[in-house]
């Protein structure tokens, strides 16, 4: 059999086994906290009670497996610190998911809509929306997700623009944090942190290095690290083993392919 040109379906099978089997086993791997996650944690931890954070759900439904533990960790932290949360979504599919995550955690923490958090919903054309909120959030979002005039909630009536937002956390699976940095950050001096899929993390290193982003929570591992800091075991910890065996399977496949190609040459 010529292993260097193997039917791709065998490779699929190897990956499926490498990921399914560890999930069926119950083993947990230790996780150590990296500097990027620590920076986000420290930033949120340094905020005063009742400060306002904006959490933007900038992802597609398909990334929910990876991004939900990240969002949950950040929102838990914010609720524990008694911060006010303004939720919104710049990707339409993030809209409902974001609302579900925030409202179910709010229930758990006994937080009230209009009191501790509001959810503004979705606006298309993210560049316009991000820029618009720098002038006036009310202008971009006259009504919230539930079609109420959110300015009528006293705890949020003083929120006018980025001046009143201590930190924006963009929970994203794509390039949205770039837009937050390019428009809200550079134009309005807004502090921004990103909770992103691991794949996106590399592209944001320049932004943390240059200080344009406060920090990054990258993927399941980032979520697991954040969970460590908050002292609980959530979605991030699960699946770290499957993650590892998946990586090892791919490395093994690459080695196999090279050995096969080498043998064929001879």
């Amino acid at each position: 059999m010529d292993l260097s040109r193997i039917d791709r379906r065998y490779i699929y099978l190897v990956i499926a086994i490498a990921i399914a089997v560890p999930l069926l086993l119950k083993v947990q791997l230790p996780v150590s906290v990296g500097p990027e996650v620590q920076k986000v944690y420290d930033e949120i931890d340094s905020l005063q009670s009742r400060d306002c954070v904006m959490i933007s759900f900038d992802f597609e439904a398909s990334s929910v497996a990876e991004i939900k533990p990240v969002a949950e960790a950040v929102i838990r932290h914010a609720f524990e610190k008694n911060l006010r949360i303004v939720g919104l979504a710049l990707f339409s599919e993030g809209t409902a998911i974001g609302y579900n995550i925030i409202s179910s955690l709010a229930e758990e923490y006994g937080k009230k809509y209009g009191e501790d958090y509001i959810y503004l919903g979705f606006r298309p054309q993210y560049v316009s929306a991000i820029l618009g909120m720098g002038e006036n959030i009310d202008q971009v979002y006259p009504l919230d997700y539930l079609n109420d005039d959110w300015k009528d909630f006293p705890p949020f009536s003083d929120v006018e623009n980025y001046h009143d937002i201590s930190l924006v956390v963009s929970i994203a699976d794509g390039s949205l944090p770039t837009y937050w940095v390019e428009y809200a950050g550079s134009r309005y001096g807004q502090k921004i942190a990103a909770g992103i899929t691991a794949v996106m993390a590399t592209s944001y290193y320049p932004y943390t290095a240059s200080g344009q982003l406060v920090g990054i929570i990258g993927g399941l591992k980032g979520a697991a690290e954040y969970e460590n800091l908050l002292g609980y075991t959530g979605g991030g910890h699960r699946g770290m083993l499957a993650q590892s065996s998946g990586h090892l399977a791919i490395i093994a496949l690459v080695i196999l392919a090279n050995v096969a190609a080498l043998r064929k040459k001879r």
């Binding site: 490779i11 699929y12 996780v31 320049p206 090892l248 090279n258």
Partner: protein
């Protein structure tokens, strides 16, 4: 006139305004700017409606002409109509039929399409990471170090692996990335300038 000159003039005026307003904090500039931002959102919304109508037209054509796969076109048409009826009649809040379909049909299908990437990454790596020359060797080495460095097992093998991975990401990889970004920036800016100046107007057709 209407097919060519006016669009070019509009493109120039709004392009120039988009560029110039960046430099002005004056309320007049800011308010004009947010007005135009709203306009763009509104035009986009209407364009999306046009997209939906044209999609429906094409699918209906498939069905009426009984073209290949016309049965599947019915599935698409029904999908659109069902979501529209649910969404407009029943609302989009939690617990509505609209959200039920979204949560139990759209989300799982999309997540599955995305999850197929795990398999595709493996086949691409299997095929693409061959030690053919120096470049391919560097590509392969960087990928493997990072892959090991991002999982706890890498740390167990040697503490140097995550350190090296971090260094690669922050130093050599980052410097190349910056250069790529700068190049893209230059390409984008000159393209945008050509658009504003009306040199680049393929989107208008050429006649």
């Amino acid at each position: 006139m209407l097919s060519k000159k006016i669009p070019i003039a509009v493109c120039f005026l709004f392009g120039l305004f988009g560029l110039v307003q960046y430099f002005s904090p004056h309320p007049a500039a800011v308010s004009a700017y947010s007005t135009v931002l709203d306009w763009v959102q509104i035009i986009f919304a209407f364009t999306l409606l046009v997209g939906v109508v044209s999609l429906l037209q094409i699918q209906l054509k498939h069905v009426s002409r009984k073209e290949k796969y016309w049965g599947y076109s019915i599935v698409t048409i029904v999908g659109i109509l069902v979501m529209a009826v649910f969404g407009f009649a029943g609302g989009t809040e939690r617990g509505t039929a609209f959200m039920w379909v979204f949560d139990n049909m759209q989300v799982p299908m999309q997540s599955t399409v995305f999850a197929m990437l795990a398999f595709f990454v493996a086949t691409a790596a299997y095929r693409g990471f061959r030690l053919r020359n120096v470049e391919a060797g560097i590509l392969l080495a960087a990928a493997i170090i990072i892959m090991l460095g991002r999982i706890p097992i890498g740390e167990m093998i040697s503490a140097r692996i995550p350190e090296t991975a971090e260094w690669i990401l922050n130093v050599p990889s980052m410097s190349a990335k910056r250069a790529v970004l700068i190049g893209i920036g230059l390409g984008s800016i000159t393209t945008a300038l050509r658009v504003i100046l009306g040199i680049e107007r393929s989107y208008l057709g050429r006649n």
